[in-house]
């Protein structure tokens, strides 16, 4: 392979990231796994594309093409952080910027209760998306690559993390309506995301009737099938799939042996985690996923939990509720962090789960700065993201957009010159925070050291 200046610098950047977390520049998978075996991950996507002017990149004045949220287009009755502020023209009111105590940055009212945790969050603004199509934006935000001909071209961040650190977990990645993908080489079959529609379906899938046969009898069948798959793999030209099935049969035996069906019913989770709010209008359902994440991490069963909150695609009058949806979504993140604060780590004595849990929240893209004729906002190729992680610098807003058009602006010099930050850079930084060489999974993206804690 021809080594260009760009590839040289990219390798250098990956090595620097590994050194950053105390690992050798070409840390092996085993090194990465053993250095991070106490870490857990939650990935959340706001499906539909959120309006960043209501939280991360707030705009409360009409300037350029920007038409700020106001009492004309937003239902403010349920917004706890909305304080009326005058608009230059017209009878309607916009919002006062939310300036959290101890924070160095202002937010929009959509940030909700997460504003109280400003010393724990990292916000990335001005993410260059180069797309306004939902599937493209979702895939780009979670894999760092645009789809090719409609097909996902790389594995998603949860799969990358699981492949490095989750192969020996019973549930490497549980993916609830998250755009998880398993694409690429050098991936272990055990980390294929366990994709489900809702967490309650896990317990229904794992429940068994004792009326006809005993669990030991079914287990005997599964053990035999694992043997069959292994034997077939030995005869096969391409043994990967069959070897993977053999491993999955073994994982199933452990899953059913652990009586997880009782633990992971939706009702059981609600009872176990009353600190989460299941009655919220938009995030009552996803709160069960958050409860699942806490419970599964507490029992050291899972490495990554990925889930989605829907309803952000507000092209029309439903934009009136975008701010409330954001408030509930960030409220859910805040509740999750509080719950993790109150939960002891399963393997690190004296540590809280929150000290070893890393949360990444993304969306498809953001919404137009203009209000359209339907009183909503359409798709726009800019984006923001949120990280809550002890490995990231907190109380930081990184990246920027221009004041008149809300478009991403160059933020630093990358190996290919000055430019705005993009999703591949954020994902590469996320991997780099754990000493994983991003080049192993990603074609693009550079580790942004400014985002990482020293």
């Amino acid at each position: 392979m021809k080594t260009t200046r760009r590839t040289f610098l990219q390798v250098l950047s990956a090595g620097a990231a590994a050194t950053w977390v105390g690992l050798p520049p070409h840390a092996s998978m085993a090194d990465v796994a053993s250095a991070n075996e106490t870490e857990f991950f939650v990935f959340l996507i706001a499906l539909g594309g959120w309006d960043v002017t209501l939280w991360a990149d707030p705009r409360n004045e009409a300037r350029g093409i920007i038409h700020p949220a106001s009492t004309e287009n937003t239902d403010t009755s349920q917004l706890t952080r909305w304080v009326d502020a005058p608009l230059a023209e017209g009878p309607f009111k916009t919002f006062e910027l939310v300036r959290p105590r101890g924070g160095s940055h202002a937010f929009g009212p959509g940030i909700g209760d997460l504003a109280d945790m400003v010393d724990r969050i990292t916000v990335i603004n001005g993410l260059e998306m180069n797309t306004v199509a939902h599937p493209d934006g979702q895939v780009f935000s979670t894999t760092g690559r645009h789809p090719e001909g409609g097909r996902v071209a790389a594995c998603s961040i949860d799969t990358m993390i699981s492949n490095e650190m989750g192969r020996h977990q019973l549930l490497p990645t549980v993916s609830v309506r998250y755009p998880s993908s398993y694409v690429g080489e050098n991936l272990d079959r055990r980390v294929v995301p366990l994709a489900i529609d809702d967490v309650g379906s896990i317990s229904r899938t794992l429940s068994r009737s004792p009326i006809y046969d005993a669990s030991s009898e079914r287990d005997r069948v599964t053990a035999m099938l694992s043997e069959e798959a292994r034997d077939l793999a030995q005869r096969s030209t391409y043994p990967d799939v069959l070897e993977g099935m053999s491993l999955q049969y073994d994982a199933l035996r452990r899953m059913l042996g652990g009586n997880l069906q009782d633990v992971f019913s939706a009702g059981g989770l609600r009872k176990a985690h009353p600190e989460l709010d299941y009655k919220r209008r938009f995030t009552g359902g996803p709160a069960v996923n958050a409860a699942f994440a806490v419970e599964a991490m507490k029992r050291n069963l899972v490495r990554c939990v990925s889930f989605a909150v829907g309803g952000f695609d507000t092209h029309a009058n439903n934009y009136r509720l975008q701010a409330q949806l954001q408030q509930e979504t960030f409220g859910l993140v805040a509740d999750l962090v509080k719950s993790l604060d109150a939960t002891p780590h399963p393997t690190v004595r004296g540590a809280k789960l929150s000290e070893h849990t890393h949360i990444l929240v993304v969306s498809d893209f953001c919404r137009t700065p203009q209000i359209n004729l339907g009183m909503g906002r359409d798709h726009y190729p800019n984006n923001s993201a949120l990280v809550v992680s002890p490995r990231f610098r907190a109380n930081l807003v990184f990246g920027q957009t221009d004041r008149d058009q809300l478009l991403p602006q160059p933020v630093r010099r990358f190996t290919d010159g000055e430019r705005a930050i993009a999703p591949p850079d954020l994902l590469a930084t996320f991997l780099g925070a754990f000493g994983i060489d991003p080049r192993k999974y990603m074609r693009d993206g550079e580790v942004v050291r400014e985002l990482l804690r020293a």
């Binding site: 046969d213 099938l225 069959l242």
Partner: protein, 233 residues
């Protein structure tokens, strides 16, 4: 003009010449330069059957029922708890959800294996009840009307030969080819499974609705409906 006449004469002469004879075979055997075995190895990795194909096959095995009818039959009215609802399983089976841009799953995972077990157990248990357990005073359905177990159980102890002929029926039903063409140890492996289950079931919970022999055949059925060859092609 002169050259044209010469060409015509040449053409006429060629027409009158004797036809060239091509020998039917080589005058001497062709020398052998080596032997190459035909490469019949598959050139593509195994793939998971699409979830639609799995479901269609499942419904056909259940007697060609519509999805909701199969659900009703699998659930039964006896509180057995063998089946919930298709909605609970579709995402784990890998069906796409175009409302949410969720693509179809093309690889198996442990939860999918759990779902295959849940569905396979429901199918085998209900089929065994239908095929081999007649209600009191009623006859068993004729072989042609049985769902899965299209054979009679022997009256005495099951030896390997008696097992093999019946296993072949199930093997053809689920995997589509005779057991004799499968890897040689397969029949023996399933016979061992059958014997283990029969031996263990006598000590099992006496409230079980299956006799040891029935539990043995149900387990063989579980093994085939969850077999890697049932799910891959």
């Amino acid at each position: 003009m002169r050259s044209l006449a010469a060409a015509c004469l040449a053409a006429l002469a060629a027409c009158g010449a004797p036809a060239e004879r091509v020998a039917a075979g080589p005058s001497a055997p062709l020398p052998e330069h080596g032997v190459t075995v035909e490469d019949t190895a598959p050139k593509e990795d195994l793939r998971l059957v699409p979830p639609e194909v799995y479901m269609r096959t499942y419904l056909r095995l259940f007697g060609g029922l519509a999805p909701l009818d199969a659900q009703k039959r699998a659930r039964g009215a006896d509180g057995a708890g063998l089946f919930d609802a298709w909605d609970d399983y579709v995402s784990a089976l890998g069906f796409p959800d175009y409302r949410l841009d969720v693509p179809r799953l093309t690889q198996t995972n442990a939860l999918m294996a759990a779902t295959f077990e849940r569905l396979g157990v429901a199918l085998c248990d209900r089929a065994l009840e239908h095929d081999l357990k007649a209600p009191k005073g009623a006859e068993l359905p004729p072989l042609s009307e049985r769902l899965v177990f299209a054979f009679e159980l022997p009256h005495g102890a099951m030896d390997q030969a008696a097992f093999a002929s019946r296993f072949d029926v199930l093997h053809r039903t689920f995997l589509g080819y005779p057991a004799s063409l499968a890897p040689p140890e397969r029949t023996a492996r399933f016979f061992q499974l059958y014997r283990d289950i029969v031996a263990g079931h006598t000590k099992a919970d006496p409230r079980s609705r299956f006799t040891p022999d029935e539990a043995g055949w149900a387990s063989v059925c579980y093994g085939l409906v969850r077999h890697p060859e049932f799910h891959l092609y």
